[in-house]
């Protein structure tokens, strides 16, 4: 790319750059250097267009319709304002961020389980500088991702979660990101770093919610390092306001025999994109990725996942489902790479999509890139309406057409929801699914 086009494309970011100021140089020198590098890279990359293969189906033009501004100090919220978002299982392990700013009054960190350290990222670079330095920006690379670059340039806070060696945390850690109402569109840039030391286990819930319906852009980056024999269960709930933009990137590395289980539920935002990159760097690693996008109206939900097997005996399982109603548009691009050294990899991927209206659209693209010769890999994709045999089965039991269709649509979503290991989350999501899938006659 020559300097002129870089400049021209960089100018595309206009208000996004203005709205994501360089964070105040309060951090250590390496962090400030990283931020400058990210800022320069963001300006070089500019906003991707549909000519970019990675963004072929997702038009970011709506982002340019708004003039984004830096986020203002958020209003002070009371616990009662956020009560409906509280997850009982995580009552003593909750970190709340309001418009990206840590809210100690709403958080609950006093009775954390032994071995679990949850720290504001803004404090962590002094208290845990070595570990933050060793991981930050290593698992999500911003060289080819303008949004990761923008986040790295300007994130001011987030969470550092450290699970000590051989520690098992029975309670999930709830990271609640709340967006409030704004007079002008704002950009929020949360950042999380999760480090599971050897033999540890924990469950993380990343939850993006909104209290209003104004326009905002939530640009998140989460990095998760899973050490030998450790296990991280990562539940990501995206229930942003209908007018919001949500772009998130999670980067995960798995050391030998490490396990990563992801459950992603996407119901909110007018435009959302979730990049999930999992790299198995050690032998015998295992990951399961379960995703559900449930969208309607004019929503667009795009999920891009990449699973890279670099070592032998790795396992990966992926089930991604989309239920698309109205004039909504779902995109799934799931790439599995099996490198030459990754013999005896066992990978299976399934993309299943349900279109509930004539105007609904889905683009699905499962991809396998296999460079090893002794592997077991399968993938498949289906797009369609409800199965007429299943509808008939339910009607033959007395349910009318509408009740039968509603039940099957609910079931299609519930299969993914049911895999989530936190009961109150499952219960709440069931209600969300019920509300969104039950058509009236």
């Amino acid at each position: 790319m020559n300097a002129n086009t870089a400049l021209a494309r960089g100018s595309d970011l206009g208000s996004l750059l203005r709205a994501t100021p360089d964070s105040t140089p309060q951090g250590p020198g390496w962090l400030n250097r990283l931020r400058s590098e990210a800022a320069a890279r963001a300006a070089q990359l500019g906003l991707p267009t549909k000519r970019d293969e990675e963004w072929r189906y997702t038009d970011l033009a709506p982002l340019l319709n708004y003039s984004f501004e830096p986020v203002r100090p958020p209003p002070l919220l009371a616990l009662a304002d956020i009560e409906r978002f509280i997850i009982p299982e995580a009552a003593a392990s909750r970190l709340v961020f309001v418009d990206g700013v840590f809210a100690p009054g709403l958080s609950a960190l006093d009775n954390l389980p032994v071995g679990l350290r949850v720290t504001r990222l803004a404090e962590a670079w002094s208290s845990h500088e070595m570990i933050v330095h060793a991981h930050l920006s290593r698992l999500v690379n911003f060289q080819h991702d303008v949004f990761a670059a923008l986040n790295t340039r300007s994130f001011s806070d987030g969470a550092l979660i450290l699970i000590g060696k051989d520690q098992r945390c029975p309670a999930p850690v709830h990271l609640l990101f709340i967006a409030t109402s704004h007079d002008a569109p704002v950009v929020i840039s949360p950042r999380c770093l999760v480090i599971a030391e050897p033999g540890s286990e924990c469950t993380l819930i990343e939850d993006s919610v909104s209290l209003g319906d104004s326009v905002y852009f939530n640009n998140m980056v989460t990095e998760i390092a899973v050490a030998e024999n450790a296990q991280v269960t990562h539940i990501k709930l995206q229930r942003e306001a209908d007018s919001a933009f949500h772009i998130a990137h999670s980067g995960v590395t798995l050391a030998r025999n490490g396990r990563y289980h992801s459950n992603t539920v996407t119901v909110g935002a007018r435009l959302s994109r979730f990049n999930l990159s999992v790299t198995q760097t050690g032998e015998g690693a295992e990951c399961t990725l379960n995703g559900l996008a449930l969208i309607t109206g004019q929503q667009l939900a795009d999920t891009h996942s990449t699973i890279v097997h670099t070592q032998p005996h790795g396992t990966s399982r992926q089930l991604h489902k989309c239920i698309v109603d109205g004039a909504a548009h779902a995109v799934f691009n799931g790439k599995i790479v099996v490198q030459q050294n990754a013999q005896l990899t066992d990978a299976a991927q399934s993309s299943r999509n349900l279109l509930l209206s004539a105007r609904a659209r889905v683009d699905t693209k499962p991809q396998l890139e296999i460079f090893a010769d002794d592997v077991k890999c399968a993938h498949g994709a289906t797009v369609g309406q409800l199965d007429s045999e299943e509808v008939f089965y339910l009607k033959s039991r007395g349910l009318d057409e509408l009740a039968a269709r509603n039940l099957l649509t609910y079931a299609f979503a519930a299969e993914v929801i049911a895999k989530i290991a936190v009961p109150s989350v499952v219960e709440r999501l069931r209600h969300v699914v019920l509300e969104q899938t039950q058509h009236a006659s």
Partner: protein, 263 residues
């Protein structure tokens, strides 16, 4: 059991039907009265399963002639769900799996839907739980099957037991059992048959559709009909099934052709 002067539940008159442009049923006549057990036997492709599905209202088939009365009302004018509520039940040859919905939630929904139509009491989840745990004993099913997804990962035998459990809950007047014996080992066959036997009353009737005679070792039919080429070509008592088992379907086919040649 054959009960003199009992009420006619099902009256099939000269029924013909096709799927696409292929004619499958070519003039079926069948009368089933309350209390009776009928078996329709026949080789693969003879139209047995088609008849079952048409009676239940499957949308893939087109009735091209004849009529079907259920308790003197035109059954073919009813939607599948209306037939179910009126008391027609089809136990599927291949029950569908519905992951994501628990079996107990599904069973309760079906039960309450049918109860509401019949003016009976609907049950809340707790009441239904007690009720279904009693009924489940009939098919010797473990109660853990209630918590699983509908038929999700069930073996062939478990699916068939679940069908009979649904029959027990919905209390149909006419139960059509489509190849309920297929894919069952001997223990499962005994359990399923035992369940069906316990559900027979003087007020209901059963239509068994089967390829093999072995189910009839456990459930004694009052009438056995042989289907061949879309027609019921022979009707007899329970001994007809044994004869078929011994002589094979070719015997009926040959006899039928001879009869037609003479006519």
């Amino acid at each position: 059991m054959i009960i003199p002067n009992s009420k006619t539940l099902l009256e099939v008159r000269d029924l013909s039907a096709s799927v696409g442009s292929v004619e499958i049923l070519k003039g079926i006549n069948l009368t089933i009265r309350a209390g009776e057990i009928h078996a329709i036997m026949g080789p693969n492709g003879s139209g047995k399963s088609t008849l079952s599905k048409i009676l239940a209202g499957h949308p893939s088939y087109t009735v091209t002639g004849g009529e079907v009365l259920f308790e003197d009302k035109n059954l073919l004018a009813l939607a599948p769900e209306e037939r179910a509520r009126a008391g027609v039940f089809l136990a599927f040859q291949y029950p569908v799996e519905i992951p994501g919905v628990s079996n107990s939630a599904f069973l309760r929904l079906a039960y309450n839907t049918v109860q509401a139509q019949r003016g009976g009491d609907e049950l809340d989840p707790l009441e239904f739980d007690d009720f279904v745990r009693e009924k489940i004993k009939l098919v010797e099913m473990d109660s853990s099957f209630l918590d699983r997804g509908v038929n999700e990962g069930f073996s062939g035998g478990e699916k068939k037991r679940n069908e009979i459990l649904q029959m027990a809950l919905l209390e149909p007047k006419l139960a059509i059992l489509d190849e309920t014996d297929s894919g069952l080992d001997i223990d499962a066959l005994r359990i399923v048959a035992n369940g069906i036997n316990q559900l027979t009353t003087p007020d209901n009737a059963i239509l068994l559709v089967t390829h093999y005679q072995r189910l009839l070792n456990y459930i004694t039919p009052d009438f056995v009909h042989v289907m061949e080429g879309g027609r019921l070509v022979k009707t007899g008592g329970k001994e007809l099934a044994l004869e078929l088992e011994r002589l094979g379907y070719d015997w009926v086919r040959d006899e039928n052709e001879a009869a037609r040649a003479m006519a």
